[in-house]
């Protein structure tokens, strides 16, 4: 298949602008990144899943990905910012540890993920979009997901040097596929960008950060948190496994929803690719990553389960936010999509 490459996405390296503030924590981080002194703030008293803490954490993590326009790249290793990031992480992680039931039976956890609930009683965003969601709701969903998918596979890449042997090789097999198996025009992040453009959305990196709520940022922040801490490598693999094991049926539902809504080929292609790719990834993650990881480091089992359950927990919070807003006939975003297109 010949396609015109979108050099605008593949060759674009411009960093995003700093986001709009949501409270004292995000204000402290953003003001420090603008060159001011880092004000002392009370992270311990903040809502661990709230708008302010999640945005502050997002800004701290983005320094490790693309950074921000006008911010010196070396601020990534600013000890004061790293100190604040650590306080924010402690609050977030403590809340997750309290809200997620512990366990260490990875096999049972994986088996449970592989059972597919069907029928009219299943409540989920992809089910809603398949059956009855509107095009506006689909566009909102894509805007939420863009925070992750425009850097798809990047947070999990941090785990590569923290694994060894067969588990490392297995993880790289899946990551290689996410990055297009050596063909940049097949990178999943690019396929996502092409879908956004077709849906009339901006495909600029982090264009919708101001639009998305804390629930959306928290899911991606969990990925960065687990990826950047070697001590959480088991949780990083668990989070990755959860996505790869559950994505294939959800992608199929989105393909059907998009066909129902009359979406174009680039939109359908992204989720269509994930139906087949993730049916393979499921197998590779179970046999090539989880099995050898637990054989080499059986003590990581509880962290793998934590990664799976924490990402399920945050995924359900985000799903409830979307469906709750849509039930009330409201937008699930903080700003309208088209009023001020980035």
């Amino acid at each position: 298949m010949t396609r015109t490459l979108e050099p605008s996405f593949l060759h674009r390296t411009a960093a995003p602008d700093l986001p709009t503030l949501r409270g004292p924590l995000s204000e402290a981080v953003v003001e420090a990144l603008r060159g001011g002194p880092l004000r002392s703030v009370d992270a311990a008293g903040a809502d661990p899943y709230g708008e302010d803490l999640q945005l502050a954490l997002h800004c701290c993590y983005e320094l490790h990905y693309r950074g921000f326009a006008g911010v010196d790249a070396e601020r990534e290793w600013d000890p004061e910012l790293l100190g604040l990031r650590r306080e924010l992480e402690r609050v977030f992680l403590a809340a997750l540890r309290a809200d997620v039931e512990p366990g260490d039976d990875v096999t049972a956890e994986v088996d449970a993920l592989l059972v597919e609930p069907i029928g009219p009683g299943v409540r989920g965003v992809s089910h809603h979009l398949q059956r009855e969601g509107t095009l506006d709701q689909l566009r909102e969903y894509v805007a939420h997901r863009s925070i992750y998918h425009l850097k798809e596979a990047d947070p999990q890449a941090w785990a590569i040097p923290r694994l060894s042997g067969a588990a490392k090789a297995g993880l790289v097999t899946v990551e290689h596929d996410e990055y297009g198996s050596g063909r940049p025009e097949r990178m999943h992040a690019l396929l996502f960008a092409e879908m956004m453009a077709e849906l009339g959305l901006s495909d600029a990196y982090c264009a919708y950060v101001d639009h998305v709520p804390g629930e959306t940022l928290a899911e991606v922040n969990l990925m960065s948190l687990c990826g950047l801490h070697r001590s959480l490598r088991g949780a990083s693999v668990g989070q990755f496994a959860m996505v790869e094991l559950t994505s294939s049926p959800g992608s199929e539902r989105l393909v059907r929803g998009m066909r129902r809504l009359g979406c174009g080929p680039a939109s359908i292609r992204f989720y269509d690719e994930h139906v087949e790719a993730d049916a393979v990834h499921e197998q590779v993650v179970r046999r090539g990553v989880l099995a050898p990881l637990l054989e080499a480091e059986p003590e990581l089992a509880a962290d793998v389960v934590f990664g799976i359950r924490a990402s399920l927990f945050l995924g359900e919070r985000m799903g409830e936010r979307l469906l709750g807003c849509w039930d009330r006939g409201e937008s699930s975003l903080r700003l309208p999509l088209d009023a001020d297109r980035p």
Binding site: G121, S181, Q283
Partner: protein, 69 residues
């Protein structure tokens, strides 16, 4: 030169056959399906809606009735 490496196919008990490297699958009617993934999951249970490529349709399904059911 030693013996050529045999093609390795992993037959899973609950799902697809896993084949490493690019493959071309020929169906009974002569249709050819090409996959150049690092690993291809070939449907073994015939339930895939994308046969011969696995789409995870082999998964166990649990029905949940709606509030009105």
């Amino acid at each position: 030169m030693g013996e050529p490496e045999p093609t390795r196919v992993l037959l899973t008990d609950e799902g697809p056959a896993l084949i490493a490297g690019p493959v071309e699958l020929e169906l009974p009617d002569g249709t050819r399906v090409r996959s150049d993934r690092a690993v291809t999951a070939v449907c073994h249970c015939r339930r895939s809606k994308r046969y011969p490529i696995c789409d995870a349709s082999h998964r166990r399904k649990v029905r949940q009735e709606g509030p009105d059911a």
